[in-house]
Amino acid sequence: MSEPGKISGERAMDSQAFEALVRQHHRRLLGYALALVPVRQVAEDLVQETFLTAYREMSRFETDRDFGAWARGILRNKYREWARRQREIPTDAATLNAIDEQHALWDRVEAAPGELLGALQDCIRKLPEVLRQVVDLFYMQRKPGAEVASNVSCDAATVRKRLQRAREQLAACVASVLGRETVRSPQ
């Protein structure tokens, strides 16, 4: 059996074999894209383009490398192209590196596709009510900060602080749930 994330050099990369890779990696790549561009349609387009490029360039893929990391490199370039076309200021290199590092750490601890998302969902349930509420409104219901503030009857600065605290607790919790210490902790 091949190592998770690695592609067997013997396997012909027909579309069926490629579908297995798409199934294995699409959620993490979409998460990566959403960390760069928080717009679902754009993130989905970027990830689709990434998979298409990966499929076309598969013959250049070094089989001893991790497919997820390779695809993230392609996605990062797609994102830069997109930002240039949109004349948007791209995310700075330090932040991009931080995102890459975190995903690389998750690559090492996620035993199966979807484990990270499952852990994240469990951790949200464990948050204190006051933090879970803002996470639910902000992320799950996609409400802007001002609207979340109005919903929880406090000011926007308070919501920002609560969100920051929630993210820190979630990061620590995910590390704990995955059972490894390698997940990056917030400063």
Binding site: R27, Y32, L34, A35, R40, V47, G114, L116
Partner: protein, 342 residues
């Protein structure tokens, strides 16, 4: 699995802390489609992959992903030469049974005959008319730039960077921009060489990963994006190869995506650089400092119509393009601020 197909919605801000941005993205992904496989998205990707396979097999160019159904009739017609190219490439692959030779020849003859009949009989903006018009604009682009450079730097020796060919150097296609440049240069500028970045080696992607099986398949080189083979290093190598022999470089394919890494910018005695193609978005400073002596950009106020270009070069040029020079860069950037990065 929930797939949000509703209208774009304003998204909450990203996490400000870089260390938590990845988590932020995964939270958004969790909100987007829950914890399991997003079957709808997987199917969407695989449909695109299969369509890409089919398009490659016919040599057609894939439409932009964000606008899969916006390919115009003219664009469909423009795919015919690419179909011919794909047939020729298959012919050259030399991995066919003998009987396919006759079939391929018959197909090529049939397509060629169809094209001729179509060009002679079609009404409206036929492929031939559209091609003629666009080639004329490309010629005008080159011509105007050539005239400007010839007037300003008469006596210069030029290297012209052109796109690599599909079939190899022996079969260089006619390039309307280069033809226009030469027309504009007249006798004032000598073209020392036309050079191209080297395309990556032809690969067959219907093979075992990383290992060519030699089985039949369409070479995938047409799909290789320019940024994959035209890099800062390649550009510098081209310029250095002709160092001392040329004092003007005109690129018809723009600059590499990683242009910031080009040693060219720091060369003590670099040739003058002119752009007959590509983006000028990040190049305002290069004009201001004189590193680029002229460039043609598509005008944000370009007028596109089915009418043929105006007969005069300057009039036709003004319908679509802007000539940007160190002298007018400030005026152009005031008039069209969207052309340049702030």
């Amino acid at each position: 699995m929930s797939q949000d197909n509703s209208q774009p919605k304003a998204e909450p801000d990203l996490a400000p802390d870089p260390a938590l941005r990845a988590l932020d993205g995964m939270l958004r992904e969790l909100a987007r489609a829950g914890t399991g496989t997003d079957d709808a998205f997987v199917q969407r990707v695989m449909t695109a992959v299969r369509e890409s396979d089919a398009e490659t097999a016919t040599g057609a160019v894939a439409a932009p992903l964000s606008a899969p159904h916006r390919v115009s009739q003219a664009q469909h017609r423009l795919a015919i030469p690419q179909l011919l190219a794909a047939l020729v490439r298959t012919w050259r692959a030399n991995v066919r049974p003998a009987w396919t030779t006759g079939l391929a020849l018959a197909c090529v003859a049939l397509v060629a005959a169809t094209l001729v009949i179509h060009c002679l009989t079609a009404t409206g903006p036929s492929m031939c008319k559209v091609m003629d018009r666009e080639l004329r604009y490309q010629f005008v682009l080159g011509s105007k730039l050539g005239l400007y450079v010839a007037e300003k730097y008469a006596g210069a020796k030029a290297l012209v960077i052109v796109p690599p060919t599909v079939f190899g150097d022996g079969e260089r296609r006619r390039n309307a921009v280069v033809d226009g440049l030469k027309e504009g240069f007249g006798g004032a500028i000598t073209v020392v060489a036309e050079a191209s970045p080297e395309r990556p080696p032809v690969t067959d992607r219907r093979t075992t990963v990383g290992v060519s099986t030699g089985e039949s398949g369409i070479p995938a080189d047409m799909a290789a994006p320019q940024e994959s083979y035209f890099t800062a290093e390649v550009f510098d190598r081209l310029v250095k190869k002709y160092a001392g022999k040329v004092d003007l470089v005109v690129t018809t394919i723009g600059l590499p995506q990683d242009m910031a890494k080009m040693e060219f910018w720091h060369m003590s005695s670099r040739p003058r650089l002119a752009l007959a193609g590509g983006s000028v978005h990040e190049l305002k400073n290069a004009f201001s400092t004189g590193a680029i002596v002229a460039a043609v950009a598509y005008s944000p106020c370009a007028r596109y119509s089915d009418k043929p270009p105006a007969s005069g070069v300057s009039e036709a040029f003004a319908e679509r393009f802007l000539l940007i020079t160190p002298e007018n860069i400030e005026e152009i950037s005031r008039q069209f601020p969207e052309l340049f990065m702030e």
